[in-house]
């Protein structure tokens, strides 16, 4: 299995541990990732809030670069994933947009590379094969899987799992020996970049998510998006100060938990760079 890898801007900085654990896990599972040479930013929410054409033209450059590699694209960041998928659909179905994008990029787009979320890529492995690789099952760990918005919405764009009650990550956690708890906030919004531009809103949204996770009896939250992880993990001190709560909920990437179950050393999975310590979770991998 070979993919063109589009890490996105966060995975080269604030979400380094997602990049690290992704590379470790994929290498252990025989998924070859080749980083797209000279990839550029997808434009994220700021682009589609500013110009529709810009929001398609920026991802188009990356789609073209991956197309030249002759590989499908694996995208760990939920926001990048949704923006690349959206651009691809627009370019395929909207001739007017396709022509304009060709004019502004100077390149004619050809649909060659399919865009897949990293979650989808890992979940596409034969479950028996994955189970055969587990050497340190996460027995007794109670996890709540948090998908956030952009992996599953809108379904017209993403469409690989149920938008209200997705199961892909839950099944992976079960394969690793953990208990994936049923809970109601799997796809609630964390406020995304409003953590920076309007923090009060993000604090309220994340407080609600943490509260429901705690009520469900979770030992940790499992994330698949760098911005979700950052809001859920690094803002807990601010939340506790604002609401008088006492949250200390570890928030791990699904790749970090799979990595632990595969027997990869915690240090190589970036497990020491979280705001809420993950040591209590690492202990479950026996």
């Amino acid at each position: 299995m070979k993919y063109a890898y589009y890490p996105g801007c966060s995975l080269h900085a604030t979400a380094r541990e997602y990049d690290q654990s992704t590379r470790e896990v994929c290498s252990a599972l025989g998924i070859e990732l080749i980083e797209i040479p000279d990839w550029s930013c997808c434009g994220a929410t700021s682009a589609h809030s500013t110009s529709h054409l810009l929001s398609v033209a920026l991802p188009a450059r990356n789609l073209t670069l991956a197309g030249k590699m002759g590989l499908d694209i694996a995208v760990p960041c939920a926001a990048c994933y949704q923006r690349l998928r959206y651009a691809q659909i627009e370019l395929d179905q909207n001739e007017g947009v396709r022509e304009k994008v060709a004019a502004v990029t100077g390149t004619v787009y050809e649909n060659k590379a399919d865009v897949k979320s990293l979650l989808e890529v890992v979940a596409s492995l034969d479950p028996e094969y994955l189970k055969s690789k587990i050497v340190r099952p996460l027995d007794g760990l109670k996890a709540v899987c948090y998908y956030g918005c952009l992996l599953v919405r809108p379904p017209r764009v993403t469409g690989f799992d149920d938008p209200e009650d997705p199961q892909t990550m839950d099944n992976l956690m079960r394969a690793c020996g953990a208990e994936a708890l049923d809970w109601g906030y799997k796809t609630e919004c964390c406020g995304a970049s409003m953590g920076i531009s309007n923090e009060a809103i993000t604090l309220k949204l994340v407080r609600d998510i943490l509260q429901v996770a705690e009520k469900a009896g979770a030992d940790c939250l499992v994330a698949a998006c760098p911005l979700c992880q950052s809001n859920l993990d690094s803002r807990q001190t601010h939340i506790n100060r604002a609401f008088g709560t006492g949250f200390k909920m570890p928030v791990l990437y699904f790749t970090q938990l799979i990595g632990l179950a595969l027997g990869i050393e915690p240090a190589r999975l970036g497990l020491k760079s979280h705001f809420v310590a993950t040591a209590g979770i690492v202990k479950f991998a026996t």
């Binding site: 550029s40 700021s46 054409l53 920026l58 304009k100 990029t105 919004c189 920076i196 809103i201 803002r235």
Partner: protein
């Protein structure tokens, strides 16, 4: 407050068509069930939650829509789009409204969000990728809150998760070209 809807419709003739052309969505389809507002994570903070935005659009109440804080607070989580029984891409409509409001200079409702977009895209244009530290600090300075999230920033730095200097891609010129050409094309329209 009394509003003469006939006069408003006359004064704002063409507004609804422009929204339709930009978003590809027919807001006349909305029958006000309220599902979008019920599921909206940010609805509690909006002056005009999504259901009302749809109704205001149907009545061509342009000022009420484009001056609302709602179009800026929308996080584009697309819960509304996913649940709409009439299959209207409400989050897509919000996108189009934000773009229209910005082009008309109506950005005071939630200035910090518009500023964030500017600083973020400025970074993309200059380097080809976002420099997170630069965006965070740039936004803080321009909103006069220099120490906002200083604790988180320091934490990230100590954990080796903050890149001090931006990295410029080789194709930065291609990205700058995209920005320039998009602007030219849109100004011509």
């Amino acid at each position: 407050m009394h509003i003469n809807l006939t006069a408003v419709a006359k004064a704002n003739a063409g507004f609804l068509e422009r929204v339709k052309a930009a978003s590809g969505q027919d807001v006349a389809q909305c029958y006000q069930c309220g599902k979008c507002t019920a599921g909206c994570p940010v609805g509690y903070a909006m002056d005009e939650p999504p259901t009302r935005i749809m109704r205001l659009l149907q009545l061509s109440l342009k000022d009420e829509v484009l001056n609302s804080n709602a179009i800026w607070l929308c996080s584009t989580c697309a819960t509304c789009t996913t649940r709409c029984p009439k299959d209207i891409d409400i989050a897509g409509v919000m996108d189009s409204l934000r773009i229209m409001a910005k082009r008309e200079g109506r950005i005071k409702a939630v200035r910090s969000i518009d500023l964030f977009n500017d600083v973020f895209l400025g970074s993309v244009r200059k380097y080809g990728r976002v420099h997170e530290l630069g965006v965070g600090m740039g936004h803080n300075l321009r909103t006069y809150k220099p120490f906002k999230d200083a604790d988180i920033g320091t934490g990230l730095m100590l954990k080796g998760r903050m890149k001090l200097l931006p990295s410029k891609i080789k194709g930065q010129g291609e990205i700058a070209r995209i920005f320039n050409e998009v602007r030219k094309l849109e100004e011509a329209e």
